[in-house]
């Protein structure tokens, strides 16, 4: 009985490592694979693993939003579009002059890694419970409607503009008569 209890109590930690592994694994596939469909599906896998990471760390709100917005909506739309465009895998392989891009992305990744290693010291160490410091959904709402009201509304306006732009672009090729 004790062993079983220990096993289950240790499960969140194991789960966290598994989720991290899969997040990195799928992210690598996004870059390495030459098949657009595999890339899109792997991107979804990455977003999902990140959500799983949030869940295993106890932040359910951010995890749920991550699935709802990124994995459930945006990544599904990516998959949808890639499937409908029917892209062929070999086209991406023969891009001329890929080498500079590799160096550039390597540099960016290196800088990010450096940044992460420098900030790791800032995170409080120890085993104390950090779940008390997590914000609840109510607190998020209160921040959005008080302190961060203007950026929140501005983001809404931006999305609205993007939707209008998409409609204009999508209907732009039609004549004026057809539009009505």
């Amino acid at each position: 009985m004790n062993q079983a209890t220990d096993l289950i109590a240790g499960a969140p930690t194991v789960f966290m490592w598994v989720a991290s592994f899969f997040a990195i694994f799928f992210a690598l596939i996004v870059f390495v694979s030459s098949n657009p469909i595999s890339c899109a599906v792997a991107l979804m896998g990455t977003l999902f693993s990140t959500a799983a990471l949030y869940f295993s760390l106890g932040n359910f709100f951010v995890g749920a939003i991550q699935i709802l917005v990124y994995a459930g909506a945006i990544a599904v739309l990516f998959v949808f579009i890639v499937m409908l465009l029917d892209l062929k895998p070999q086209k991406l392989k023969n891009l001329p002059g890929r080498f500079p891009y590799f160096i550039f992305s390597g540099l960016v990744a290196g800088l990010l890694a450096l940044f992460l290693f420098r900030t790791i010291d800032l995170v409080p160490k120890g085993t104390e419970d950090t779940s008390a410091s997590l914000l609840s959904a109510t607190q998020y709402a209160q921040y959005f409607l008080s302190q961060y009201q203007v950026p929140f509304q501005a983001a809404g306006l931006l999305v609205f503009g993007a939707i209008l732009g998409a409609i204009v672009l999508a209907r732009g090729h039609l004549g004026k008569k057809e539009r009505s």
Binding site: I8, I37, F61, I65, I67, V76
Partner: protein, 357 residues
């Protein structure tokens, strides 16, 4: 007993219950449809045909598993799994009964008591589209692709109406915690304080959307057999097809449990609060643990009855109404349910403002 161990026990019990419920629901649907159409239905295997699901399962296992030559193999194999897993995950946040008192600690009968259960349920529900889309595309078949396109546009359209209704509900309840929502519906003197009386319009819209989301008649255009053979699962055979079938029924169970939790008071027994029932059992000279366990048993039965009502309603509607035409379906989703949902938000806002003043 640790909270984690308790969660694991509830999870296993729940998984067994749902996976046994699915074949039972299949026999209920087949016998029920036969009863409605005045024919016999499957009545040969076992007493009253009750062993028919077993026979079906054996048949599915022994059938040939066929993968089309030009299919995308990995996605083709992934899609059936994705159809079953999300409904099973969604069940973890649904409260099944009050709490059991073990050694002085109250353990809620729920796998994961999440503070954002409602959001989690919506998030996992949105994954269903991915399975359908993947299945349709990976099969490399025109009918499958058409079915997948229909299904995904239908599900995405109706998800918007669901989201709008959830906003109105959150205004009324003021929380995203499903256990809290059930507790708010607990007491009531003349009427039970159920969500269906607080939010009748939301109840109606969500109920309609539950049919569209699970691709059941009258919204089963993705699988319309007279037009698309069988839609997105045309190329699937054997156990892979059975997984889609199980996924559909599990999704129906989730939708029913969702409606029950939000509108029919969840596990609550009408007119009786958890405390009343527990005190009744304690007065019968039970220990606290036994009394709480008996209360929970009663509440699980109450929950199951409500869920089964919605499940039966699915069957009832399926054999009563004909299928929509595609433009009618889109018209209903975008031009009827969505404006109604927005109107409902306005009414809810005004009422909750007047109540708070």
């Amino acid at each position: 007993m640790s909270a984690e161990l308790w969660s694991a026990i509830v999870a296993i019990a729940l998984g067994v219950a749902v996976l046994t419920g699915v074949p039972l629901m299949v026999i209920v649907e087949r016998r029920g449809s036969a009863w409605m159409q005045r024919r016999s239905g499957p009545n040969r295997v076992g007493p009253w045909g009750l062993m028919q699901p077993m026979a079906d399962a054996i048949k599915f296992v022994f059938k040939e598993e066929n993968v089309p030559a030009k299919a995308h193999k990995i996605l083709f194999l992934l899609a059936p799994a994705l159809a079953v897993i999300p409904p099973l995950i969604s069940f973890t946040v649904i409260p099944l009964a009050g709490s059991i008192n073990l050694e002085g600690v109250e353990f809620p009968v729920q796998v994961a008591n999440m503070s954002v259960g409602l959001l989690f349920l919506l998030a996992i529900n949105s994954m269903h589209v991915f399975s359908v889309l993947t299945a349709g595309w990976a099969s490399n078949n025109k009918f499958s692709l058409m079915g997948a396109l229909r299904a995904s546009s239908q599900m995405i359209s109706y998800e918007i109406a669901i989201g709008i209704c959830i906003v109105a509900l959150v205004i009324t309840y003021g929380t995203l915690d499903l256990r809290e929502i059930v507790k708010l519906q607990e007491a009531g003197s003349s009427l039970p304080a159920w969500g269906m009386f607080m939010q009748p319009l939301s109840f109606f819209i969500l109920w309609v959307c539950a049919f569209a989301e699970t691709n059941r008649l009258p919204f089963d255009l993705p699988e319309g057999e007279s037009e698309l053979v069988a839609g997105y699962h045309t190329e699937y055979s054997g156990m892979k097809f059975a997984l889609f079938f199980m996924g559909e029924y599990a999704a129906m169970f989730v939708a029913s449990a969702f409606l029950t939790t939000l509108f029919l008071g969840g596990y609550n027994v009408p007119f009786l609060s958890e405390e009343t029932i527990r005190n009744f059992f304690i007065a019968k000279e039970m220990t606290l643990t036994m009394a709480s366990a008996a209360t929970c048993a009663l509440q699980v039965v109450s929950f199951a009855v409500k869920v089964l009502f919605f499940m039966w309603f699915y069957v009832w509607i399926r054999w009563t109404l004909p299928r929509f035409r595609y433009d009618q379906l889109m018209h209903l989703g975008w031009k009827v349910l969505l404006p109604l949902g927005v109107l409902n938000i306005f009414i809810t806002m005004i009422v909750s403002y007047l109540r708070s003043v």
